[in-house]
């Protein structure tokens, strides 16, 4: 971070209009991004609260706090809320909405009203879910497996599936909007291979959102109809096939895990570049690998069904295809590592999250390969090993990417810096807490502890206690940013581009004016046009004099005069 001597612009998108109406009826993508941020933050802490209740119960092998039914509701609500109402909309809804037009030099997304509509639809879906929470919950697991969900469950399945249906619809509209925006709204001269990698990854995400989500939507409706009308579309007693449900569900939900991780991959690419002050190594490979991931993600869903009476031949096919998807993911990891090599790396908060991401995503992805091999999955399926696998990617990966991005673009969004010391501290707490929570779960899972039970064999207690301790630390790590980020809105130091980062979004004021750019930007070079020799980087100079925080003035100043 580099100290700057700047003041807030007089008019920006936050103060250009006043009153609650100017927010609830806004079509400004930046304000809609903030609306999303507020709503998903609520959902994040609600879902996190259920996680803590789960971990609390698992402190001891017996059932001492909750009975089985209550526990089932907790893990279901935890999963439904955090997957469909936090992770899926997280980065696209907040950072994506805020940044895409800024990064491509446009005034707004292609369909601003549709953008607002998609937030409202998201809110309707959330209200369904909150209603389910209020009136007694749902206990099917986030996967809604039939015939339990359709025939046996006594909880509020219909309302929950409708909630998911609505948030899916919202997700489709966001994706559609982004695809058109990225195709049609780019500034003059901004060719595809000059685009920031964040745009590439959101583009790939949007493809999945548009093509996979409708299948989830109709599947949820089928469950609701089957429950409501008592027809047996998935009920084996009436000739239905529950495994068909799994095919339809995972046709969406495997690609959906990439809806959750791809945006974070994009954020991390931006962070790596900004904090090494280098072009991302192998830019084109990293860009194309996002598209490859999006396409491959559609052909591997069967790896969730190896032990669901799916044919063993189909299993072999899906197993081979699943290995494919690891290739483009690995391309990214290798290229990031190559970027770090000999870069002038600085360890500000966003970069700490990015580095944490790389390690955890790699381990999470590799354990995915373990699970994708049929023989091993027979042993590991439905154990805590699976839980650890996907939490490494979704929490260690996707959530860390989101937090990293949030810190990185915080000064862009609000014109003020968060307190860097607290930022680093909580990044560290998150990393420690996370690893303590989930590494033990690999072991207990491998030893055979099944998921989704509120009691367990006593020999697993030590590892479970470690995991619960870790989650409490993790919880602190998440609460701290909530406090200091809100604090910084008022008291943070005024900042414009504290990272001296490149990219169109940094070329306008922070916070940006309502129309984003005072005049139409014209692009003549690619996104990461950093000086080739690191010695030229102001940060590098800062490092030589022994501090990350450089005295104000020396290098940071000239540019603000140009920009604002």
């Amino acid at each position: 971070m580099i100290e700057e001597n700047v003041s807030l612009p007089r008019i920006h998108y936050l103060n250009s209009h006043y009153g609650w109406k100017s927010w609830l009826f806004t079509t400004d993508h930046k304000r809609i991004g903030l609306l999303y941020m507020i709503s998903i933050t609520l959902m994040f802490f609600l879902g996190g609260f259920f996680a803590l209740l789960i971990r609390l119960e698992l402190l001891t092998p017996q059932a001492d706090m909750f009975n089985a039914d209550t526990y089932n509701k907790f893990f279901t609500l935890h999963g439904v809320i955090l997957i469909f109402f936090f992770l899926v909309p997280s980065i696209p809804g907040t950072l994506g909405n805020f940044l895409i037009p800024l990064m491509i030099g446009a005034k707004d997304v292609a369909f601003p009203k549709l953008n607002l509509l998609s937030w409202y639809i998201f809110v309707i879906g959330s209200l369904f879910t909150l209603w389910v929470v209020a009136v007694g919950g749902i206990d099917t697991g986030w996967t809604f497996y039939t015939p339990y969900s359709t025939t046996f469950a006594n909880t509020h399945v219909i309302a929950a599936t409708l909630g998911v249906f609505f948030t899916g619809f919202s997700s489709i509209l966001t994706g559609l909007n982004f695809i058109v925006t990225i195709h049609k709204m780019r500034a003059p001269g901004l060719t595809w291979f000059r685009l920031p990698l964040f745009i590439w990854s959101l583009y790939a995400t949007s493809i999945i959102q548009v093509l996979a989500t409708p299948v989830l939507g109709i599947t949820m409706v089928l469950i609701a109809v089957e429950r409501f009308a008592k027809v047996g579309i998935f009920d084996p007693a009436l000739g239905g096939d529950p495994v068909l449900f799994q095919h339809m569900f995972w046709f969406y939900s495997h690609p959906a895990v990439y809806i959750m991780i791809l945006p974070s991959l994009g954020v991390v690419s931006e962070l790596i570049s900004a904090f090494t002050w280098k072009r991302v190594f192998g830019y084109k490979f990293v860009a194309i690998s996002s598209l490859m991931i999006a396409i491959f993600s559609f052909i591997v869903w069967g790896h969730h069904m190896y032990v669901s009476s799916m044919s063993i031949y189909a299993g072999m096919l899906f197993s081979i295809l699943s290995y494919l998807v690891a290739v483009p993911s690995a391309v990214k990891v290798f290229n990031w590592t190559a970027t770090l090599y000999k870069g002038s790396v600085s360890y500000d908060t966003p970069m700490l999250y990015a580095l944490g991401f790389i390690g955890l995503f790699t381990i999470g992805g590799l354990t995915g390969l373990f699970l994708a091999s049929m023989g091993l999955d027979r042993h590991l399926h439905d154990t805590y090993f699976v839980i650890a696998h996907f939490h490494l990617i979704m929490v260690g990966g996707a959530v860390m990417g989101y937090f990293g991005g949030l810190h990185y673009w915080w000064p862009k969004m609000f014109g003020r810096m968060y307190p860097e010391w607290w930022g680093r501290l909580s990044a560290l707490i998150v990393f420690v807490g996370f690893n303590l929570s989930f590494f033990p779960q690999f072991i207990i899972g491998y030893l055979g502890m099944p998921r989704r039970y509120h009691v367990y064999a006593p020999e697993f207690q030590v590892l479970n206690v470690m995991s619960t301790a870790g989650s409490s630390i993790l919880g602190v790590g998440y609460l701290l940013p909530l406090v200091y980020l809100i604090w910084s809105l008022r008291y943070g130091k005024v900042a414009a581009n504290p990272w001296k980062a490149k990219g169109l979004e940094w070329e306008t004021a922070s916070p940006p004016p309502p129309e984003n750019f005072l005049e139409q930007p014209i692009v003549t070079e690619e996104a990461y046009n950093y000086p080739t020799r690191p010695a030229h980087s102001p940060r590098h100079a800062g490092k030589l004099t022994g501090g990350l925080a450089q005295p104000a003035g020396a290098t940071g100043k000239g540019r603000e005069a140009e920009v604002v």
Partner: protein, 225 residues
């Protein structure tokens, strides 16, 4: 372009950019529709593969003449829609209104026929979840019920799309009547046309897959009633 009827929204630069965006946006929406119906067609295929005989027998309880008539209605309404769009493109308001009305007329006819079909099935106790009662061979009962569920769900969803389409059509008609469209700006008409053709397209698959499976059976081959 400074035509009074061609407002370019503030965040676009040219009419063409706005129009292209709308077209791609619409096609992406239709792509989601293709996968939405596609999931149902997949379910149909799976259950047909499981219950080939039951599907055939149950399908022979469909009135293919009604289905065929409806196919014709939809094709005709698609053609009139094409003419509506080209009238709009040429700035012929009268033609636009006339062809839109014709499109709406045939669309409504479709729904009327569908209504009578549904009533008929209701009286025959063919509706799963409501009054399904199978009097044919008992081993076919499950498959037949599955067939009828898929029939009602898929044609119901299709009819819902028709209803939405007719609603949009009324809106397009009113705005066209008010003279909102011109050769420079008739995006909504064109986009609505895409939607309408898509609904036609779905029916083109529904018709043979639901109505005609048992058409080659001898009369009463279903052994029902």
């Amino acid at each position: 372009m400074s035509n009074a009827h061609s407002p370019v929204a503030h965040h676009f630069y040219t009419v063409e950019q706005q129009k292209d965006s709308a077209t791609i946006g619409m096609w992406l929406f239709l792509a989601t529709e293709i996968l939405l119906f596609g999931a149902l067609f997949t379910a149909y295929a799976v259950y047909r593969y499981r219950f080939p005989d039951a599907f055939m027998v149950a399908s022979s309880r469909m009135d293919w003449k009604m289905g065929g008539l409806n196919t014709l209605f939809l094709i005709i309404s698609s053609v009139t829609m094409v003419f509506a769009v080209s009238s709009a493109e040429k700035g012929r308001r009268g033609g636009l209104l006339g062809f839109l009305a014709a499109t709406g007329f045939f669309g409504t006819l479709f729904l009327v026929v569908k209504y009578f079909e549904y009533m008929h099935h209701y009286h025959d106790r063919d509706v799963p979840g409501l009054n399904f009662h199978w009097t044919g061979a008992p081993e076919l009962a499950n498959g037949a019920q599955m067939f009828f569920f898929l029939y009602f769900f898929m044609t119901g969803l299709h009819a819902l799309h028709m209803l939405v389409g007719l609603g949009l059509l009324i809106w397009i008609f009113i705005t066209a009547y008010q003279g909102k469209y011109s050769p420079e700006y008739y995006n909504p008409v064109e986009m609505f046309g895409l939607y309408w053709h898509f609904v036609d397209l779905v029916w083109i698959f529904l018709f043979p897959l639901l109505y005609l499976l048992g058409a080659h059976l001898p009369p009463g081959g279903g052994g029902h009633h």
